[in-house]
Amino acid sequence: MNGKLEFIDILREKEKKYNRQHDFNAFEFTYKAEITTIHKLTQMENLYRVRIIDPEQGKQFSFQPGQFVMLELPGIGEAPFSISSSPLRHGDIELCIRKAGNLTNFLSRVERGTRVGLRGPFGTGFPMEKMEGQNILLIAGGLGLAPLRSAIAYVQANRSRFNTVDIIYGTKDPSQLLFAYQYDVWRADDITLSIIVEEPDTAWKGPAGLITKILEDLFRKKDKTFFKNTYAIVCGPPVMFKFVCTMLSQKDIPMQKMFVSLERRMHCGMGKCCRCNVGSTYTCLKGPVFDYWTVMNLKEAI
């Protein structure tokens, strides 16, 4: 007589034919990566260059602009960060991180050479290929430039495939401007860059006010056909993208051609912990990049 249950090792059961997403092993799978440089951007933000140590794994790691990774420091914490570098560079990414809490404060103190864990990439990206042949408006408020920078890098690398490209960027004051050292390079790639700050200091030469002000100026220079053939990516705090998207909508850009990135609390990145749910949509699976039409239909999104 036998009544002993057999132990089933689920890992041996894994189905090889699927990709990583379907593999039990993928759940806590962590790329080990090293912080190779730390570049201070502002008082609050640093740019970290993070390289996956195993070159094979590094090659595997590919992503779209707009996607994010979960970065982990053992014992300290794990949190989502948008990838801020060119999608052409695999396994060697840049993250622009603001000091906001436990993990990010600790990160601001660590030295080069510290090893971190990376999971991902997760979430949806900006549909860059769909936008080819069209004008693009890249609109960023504050830290929103971080995910946008990856899209910019994509545009730079494929500049000829896009029509006019405008970056509109606004921050609170001039000391908070991110990636200032790159502005000239962007302009050199035939990208128009307009910057506005809310609270100018004495050295500030550019315009002052809210980002909508600069947009109004810009829109005055554009005609109907421009808006017909335009995609927009808007990254920033909810109030900002709400106003901006409403303006764009008034110019008859379809809401499905505007993309925004939502930020929610996340503990897994894989549609399990529910912390990122908007209404009941997982930001980590269906987002963080949504078209504005979807956002309008999500309860409690804005």
Binding site: L73, F106, V110, G113
Partner: protein, 271 residues
Amino acid sequence: MADLKPVRTYLGMPLYRPKTAFFELSSCEGCQLQLLNNEASLLDFLSLLDIVNFREAMTEKSDEFEIAFIEGSVTRSDEVERLKEIRKTANTLVAFGSCACFGGVNQMKNRLGSEWVKKEVYGDHPVESGFARPLEDIVTVDLKIFGCPIKKKEVEKIIINIALGKAVVHPVYPVCMECKANENICLFDLGEPCLGPITRGGCDSWCPNSRFGCWGCRGPADDANIDQLREIMKKHGFSEETLRDRLECFGGFSKYTEAFRKNPEKKKEGK
């Protein structure tokens, strides 16, 4: 206590080993005793701190410290002075235990008026004593460690976070959350009152684990719905007094208990 172990690091970052002092005002010293109590990890724990002042356990003392853990409530003028002195030296002042955080059981006398209280215990013999007050009535408190007594595990975690430079976050949810995870039978089902639904968690539902209703020693949870608990108590047949006794016990709910009892002297003495 001189350096026990060489400076250690975590992920390449040097650990902060603060010069630490322990003080006690009006209290039972149980919280300090709890520190010596987690025997298994005691040596590791002590090595994280450079203890320069711990009267309950050591003779040597020094007035140079960065972190001061203060147990007990303030009831006398000399304690006010001592506390202010400590505040001058300490970078971080920690209110340690419910007496320091809320006044603790000591503050229950406040409802009776100091003069009556003195007479009841000492007759005509003169003694000095005012209201029992939490530390934050006198000085700025940087960190609170709740509980009567404090939970050693929690203190360990806090000390680890201090060593790492990590922020200390307390649970924001009520005791019920942990009580359910421990699969306890709810005290209300057993016909006993409990403050678990409104009291800050973090104690791992210490009392309900023993089928003993919570008395709220850790003060209110972040979104405590006290009005609703009042309804619930009523529905389960507990008197207003039963609820008040518990709310009053450790002082954490003083904001609400004042509505129960008018406290004339409190205003007079003020801050």
